[in-house]
């Protein structure tokens, strides 16, 4: 129930607060930073939910749940980093970018520079663990599964 309410609130929020703001990747115009950041929060919430659900289950240490749990964890971290990076970009001035150089003279530029590098590590790790989970399943079910009985026979 709580989840449904939250989900409703997120969607309503996206619709109610359209604004002409910019993000790291220039989420401007009709999209806007706010909706993108809310989507990040929604993403973070859903993968946190996944992480908690798996952590509470008995299978958390077994494949592929172990790998899925790790993927969820890295997705959470990635969301946090990109969320901060998007905001920090808003506090930077365009003049700080000079060709292929960046003038680092405030905290926002440091956070942006660091975040936009580190986020790649976590998104790659998250995707890699997700792929690993699928590989684990494939290892177990590599051969075509011999289903016990044809449904029609039951």
């Amino acid at each position: 129930m709580l989840f449904r309410i939250l989900r409703f609130v997120f969607f309503v929020s996206i619709c109610l607060f359209p604004s002409n703001v910019l993000a790291v990747q220039e989420h401007g115009g009709a999209e806007g930073l706010l909706s993108h950041e809310l989507a990040h929060l929604f993403f973070a919430f859903s993968v946190t939910y996944l992480f908690v659900k798996i952590s509470l289950s008995k299978e958390k240490k077994k494949s592929p749940y172990r790998e899925l749990r790790m993927a969820s964890l890295f997705f959470i971290i990635w969301n946090v980093i990109t969320f901060v990076t998007h905001i920090s970009r808003e506090y930077m001035d365009k003049s700080q970018f000079q060709g292929l150089y960046l003038r680092v003279d405030n905290m926002a530029s440091i956070l942006w520079y660091t975040g936009s590098i580190v986020e790649h590590i976590f998104i790659v790790l998250a995707c890699w663990y997700f792929l690993k989970a699928l590989y684990r399943i494939k290892d177990v079910t590599g051969e075509p599964v011999d289903l016990p009985v044809n449904r029609k026979e039951l």
Partner: protein
Amino acid sequence: MISLHLHIFIDIVGSLAVIYITFQAVRTGRSIALRNRDIIFYRYLYYQAITLFVFASGRAFGHIIKRILLLTDNQDIWALLSPLSGGLNTLTFIAFSLIALMYSNVQDVNRQIDELITERRRYKRLFDYKTKIFDSMYFPAVVISEDYKILDVNRRFVEICKDKNKAELIGKNCYEVTHSSSVPCLSEDHPCPIKKVINEGTTEVVMHRHRCPEGDRIFELHISPVLFGEREVKAVIEICRDITEILKEQAEKERLRKQLFQTQKMASLQTLIAGIAHEFNNLLVGIMGNAELILNMPADAGIRERVEKISSSSQRAAELIKKMLYYQSAVHSEKQPFNLKVFLLDFQKFVHSIKPEEVDVKFILDIEDLIIYGDPQSLNDAFINIVENAFQAMIDGGRLDIEVRKTIQDGKPYVMLAFMDTGEGIAPENLDRVFDPFFTTRDVGSGTGLGLYVAKGVVESHDGKIVVESTQGEGTRFTVYLPYKD
């Protein structure tokens, strides 16, 4: 100032890595989902992989295109594309998030499917177990519905129906398969107990003759109801026990028992007859000798007439004793090689000379010169006895066929002599007794009942055998088998 070269490098490498990884995830997820269609969780992961790929590749392409456009001083184009890239990015976030939130529901569905599969496996194992038991039964078994359709058969049943497999048998009418009939078995000698078993719920045991590819077989059928509900019977299980060989063995044992009884009876009778005949003969010698002496003495006519009657009666008694003792002499007579064809040609002439006018005799001699080891005189007497017996059975006329040809019995060469008359025949209850001494169905005084007894003794003393077959009102056939050596 910090150089952005490393930043750009990591951006491009990281983006390419994510594209590659998520593409692999889609491929793997698809493979898993297709191979395990019943596991909804795998399909869930596959959909997650797709959204992740769309999200990651869209984002990564966005990053790469952005770098290229910015480095080539095309900020205007990037300004146009940027909202599209960002919007797609946001949408795929949401799609991935929504799918991620369905985790619990998917797991619940998956658990239910797992339980279903487990249950199905359990049923499959149970089904296999029951099928194996059914197939391991030594006796053929078949399940038949109330409308005579075959519902199931075990392996043994399929084996006895050599020309059909299980799939061909199921669905067919039982009477078509086991009786080659187009209607259910309703005849009195093959009553079908299926209706009775279904109506009364009892077990029935009946004997049926089934048509099998190798010939007719006799089956003892144990038919039990198959209960579908508490007392609802809609099918029966029929366990078929092939008792053909058992019945054959029983018949053979019965035949041997009768044969042994007959042999013992004959041996006892022969001993008794020989003893009585010998003693009686001694007494007759005294009676006949004294009668002769009296007849040679002067006496009145009345005494003479009575003594002559004593003498003639004694003569007849002596003839009877001679016949009784003939069996012993014939059986123990000297045997020598002789030409059977020559013997039979003489015998043919003799038969024609003694045959009644109203009887036709036909000889079929289908043999070449053949040497037999035996006593031609005693064999002649034996065959004459059989022929006379046939003539007496055809007082009102008829036909006697005598066929002689070579044959094989139990792998050994024999000469077969068949005497087939069209007389009155022998009653079935008398067939076993026709070779007994003194057995006759004729009027007292018209036969001694020793002819066939002597014939059998003579044939058996030649290591042969004699068989009688008769149909009352149609005729009788005596078949003599005499061994010969090529």
